[in-house]
């Protein structure tokens, strides 16, 4: 009795404190994004107003110019005039290719490394880790000269190859640890049930690996999608992906409106990420092997 009321006493303030913390944290974390999104429908004179910051909220100048507090002029400028749609398509090509290639090699390699008892398997993983730990820009600067010489600088496939190289160690590690959680006996019982190694992998192991594949795929997607170092140095003007394109909007502030193009395209580039995470959050669950073994 007394014990129960004691825990109740303690938990109420604790509940308030944790709720308050989470609430404040949410605001702090989400505010910049909502602020940017709000501002993207204004003109520069409002959002970057030197006289009064509240102009960004009320949109005085926007109303004065377009008769309404919200305007899509920054989006139109970025997407139509500045060909941001082309950057979006390039981003799509790069990210999808990077994800597909990294996951293909990652699942095959991760499975092999997880099941291998050879000593060099671990050495491989350590080498991969070192490779991954290097700053991306060191790899890029090493690649630049050969790429110029081979005359493959500037094209999307080149960027894809470099991004896969950077991402692959991580996917290997991650998928390997997911495979390690799939009991070896599952492979073995599939083998005894008449499967070849390949069939065991496809019919028995992969179906329980989806959460791992999706989680790893999501991380790979984010790496490729958000990359700046590689895409900015390797792609030419015409083949730019979204992030370097946004950076180039920011880089030319002499003309009014370009910084607003950056704001609008930042919002455009962020929106798909929300959708992606929301769609896949259900799949990022562990414990799909529950029931396989004793317990």
């Amino acid at each position: 009795m007394s014990h129960e009321s004691a825990t109740q006493h303690r938990s109420t303030p604790l509940l308030i404190a944790t709720s308050a913390f989470i609430f404040i944290w949410l605001i702090v974390a989400a505010f910049p994004f909502f602020w940017t999104m709000w501002g993207s429908f204004k003109i520069q004179a409002d959002f970057f107003s030197k006289s009064d910051w509240s102009n960004a909220v009320t949109g005085v100048n926007t109303t004065a110019r377009y008769g309404h507090a919200f305007t899509g002029v920054a989006y139109e400028g970025a997407w139509v005039q500045q060909d941001f749609w082309r950057a979006a398509v390039n981003s799509l090509i790069v990210t999808v290719s990077v994800v597909v290639i990294s996951l293909t090699f990652g699942t095959l390699g991760g499975y092999a490394l997880a099941r291998s008892t050879a000593r060099y398997a671990f050495a491989l993983l350590i080498v991969a880790l070192i490779f991954r730990a290097m700053p991306h820009i060191t790899l890029v600067s090493g690649y630049l000269l050969p790429f110029f010489k081979l005359n493959i600088w500037g094209y999307l496939p080149t960027a894809i190859i470099v991004l896969v190289a950077i991402n692959q160690p991580f996917t290997l590690w991650m998928l390997r640890s997911f495979f390690m959680n799939v009991p070896r006996e599952l492979d073995e019982s599939a083998l005894v049930d008449g499967c070849t190694r390949g069939q065991a992998f496809c019919y028995v192991i992969m179906p329980v690996m989806w959460p791992g594949v999706i989680t790893t795929g999501l991380f790979s997607f984010l790496l490729a999608y958000n990359d700046f170092a590689v895409t900015a140095t390797i792609l030419n003007q015409h083949n730019q992906t979204m992030v370097p394109k946004i950076a180039s909007f920011l880089g030319t502030t002499q003309t009014e409106g370009n910084v607003m193009f950056a704001v609008a395209s930042v919002v455009s580039a962020t929106a798909p990420l929300f959708v992606l995470v929301l769609v896949f959050q259900r799949n990022i669950v562990s414990g799909l092997t529950a029931g396989a073994v004793k317990g």
């Binding site: 009991p183 006996e185 599952l186 073995e188 019982s189 599939a190 083998l191 005894v192 049930d193 008449g194 499967c195 070849t196 069939q199 019919y203 028995v204 179906p207 329980v208 799909l288 092997t289 529950a290 029931g291 396989a292 073994v293 004793k294 317990g295």
Partner: protein
């Protein structure tokens, strides 16, 4: 049993993980349709041996033949085996039905045939009601039965069972034990069965192999293993409660220790033979006669009763013979209690003598 051809033949099998030697120079011949039980303490290499036979581990030396074919380097799927894993290893993403039929689909068995085989296995194992569930929704015992079913539906020459009944309650275990025995009598497949349970071993086996540290100590019928164990380890391992051991020496026809002198003239000496020197005398608790019955025995001695454990049909008594522990079994109706003195009798013909140093049976 008529075992003219051998079904599984293990010849000089060696297996080591790095420097850890798990199996050393193992030889076992298993006859066509034979039921062989592997019995041994935990960690002695039983699962490892099964994995070698199944082809899941690459052997370090020696050969494995199944049905007269050298399969040492064949893939598991080409060996014609079915296996029940110690850890079940059910496919978590499939229903029970999916688990049972997976191997059959893989072997391209006709749909109707799959249906009927799954149905029969489910009936035998009492899992008909669970067919549409996923393994995660089953209890440990139910999972184990599914694992057994997955092997049984398949049409293979050799079944490998790794402690298939270990997680079941006593009643279900007894009924499945009978089912497995019945299945074996119907199917006449060769079965290799690992267990810790002596009753399972005794009741199911055509022959039992007692293993210790990766080597077979004795391979024989349950009766041979029980009544003439080749060494002290086997004698102590088989039987519950386990055998009493008294150390003494053999001189001529007599076993002499501090507490007893037995004439061994009726002892068979079917091991290494008669040999004077330091020996141990093994007496099974169930072969000790008590009270009236003891008077007919060639050797009698008085024992103090320390602890009495009634077990229903009989009662286990922990006594002491001048400080040495002495276990024996009396009828369940017995009125013995702690502190009593009781006369017990031993028949030397039913005892075992072991050399003290080599531990081999004399």
């Amino acid at each position: 049993m008529n075992q003219t051809t051998s079904s599984v033949s293990i010849r000089g099998l060696d297996l080591h993980f790095g420097s850890v030697k798990v199996l050393t120079d193992l030889d076992i011949e298993i006859g066509e349709g034979e039921f062989l039980v592997l019995l041994g303490s935990s960690g002695c290499g039983k699962s490892t041996l099964l994995n070698c036979i199944a082809g899941l581990l690459d052997v370090s030396g020696g050969e494995i033949h199944i049905k007269g074919r050298n399969v040492t380097w064949d893939e598991p799927k080409d060996r014609g085996i079915g296996m029940v894993f110690q850890s079940y290893a059910l496919y978590p993403q499939m229903t029970v039905r999916g688990n049972l039929s997976f191997g059959l689909k893989q072997a391209k068995v006709a749909k109707s045939e799959i249906e009927s085989r799954v149905k029969r296995a489910a009936e035998v194992l009492q899992i008909e009601a669970l067919l549409e569930r996923k393994p995660a929704q089953l209890s440990g015992g139910q999972r184990q039965r599914v694992a057994i079913g997955r092997a049984l539906v398949r049409d293979v020459d050799v079944f490998l069972f790794d402690e298939p009944l270990s997680n079941l309650d006593a009643k279900l275990r007894a009924s499945l034990r009978v089912e497995i025995k019945r299945l074996h009598q119907q199917l006449h497949n060769t079965m290799i069965y690992v267990t810790h349970d002596q009753i399972e071993a005794m009741t199911l086996a055509d022959r039992i192999a007692i293993m210790k540290d990766g080597a077979v100590q004795q391979l024989g019928t349950p009766h041979e293993i029980y009544s003439s164990p080749v060494n002290r380890y086997v004698a102590a391992f088989i039987g519950s409660p386990s055998m009493n051991f008294f150390s003494g020496s053999l001189s001529g026809d007599n076993f002499v220790s501090d507490t007893m002198t037995l004439s061994m003239d009726r002892y068979a000496f079917d091991g290494t033979g008669r040999q004077n020197g330091r020996v141990e005398l093994g007496v099974r608790p169930e072969h000790v006669a008590c009270d009236e019955a003891a008077r007919d025995m060639p050797f009698q001695v008085e024992v103090d009763v320390d602890v009495v454990e009634p077990m229903g049909s009989d009662t286990q008594v922990w006594g002491s013979l001048q400080g040495e522990e002495f276990r024996f079994r009396v009828d369940g109706q017995s009125t013995l209690k702690t502190g009593d003195k009781v006369l017990v009798g031993i028949d030397p013909a039913r005892t075992c003598l072991f050399d003290m140093t080599t531990e081999l049976r004399l």
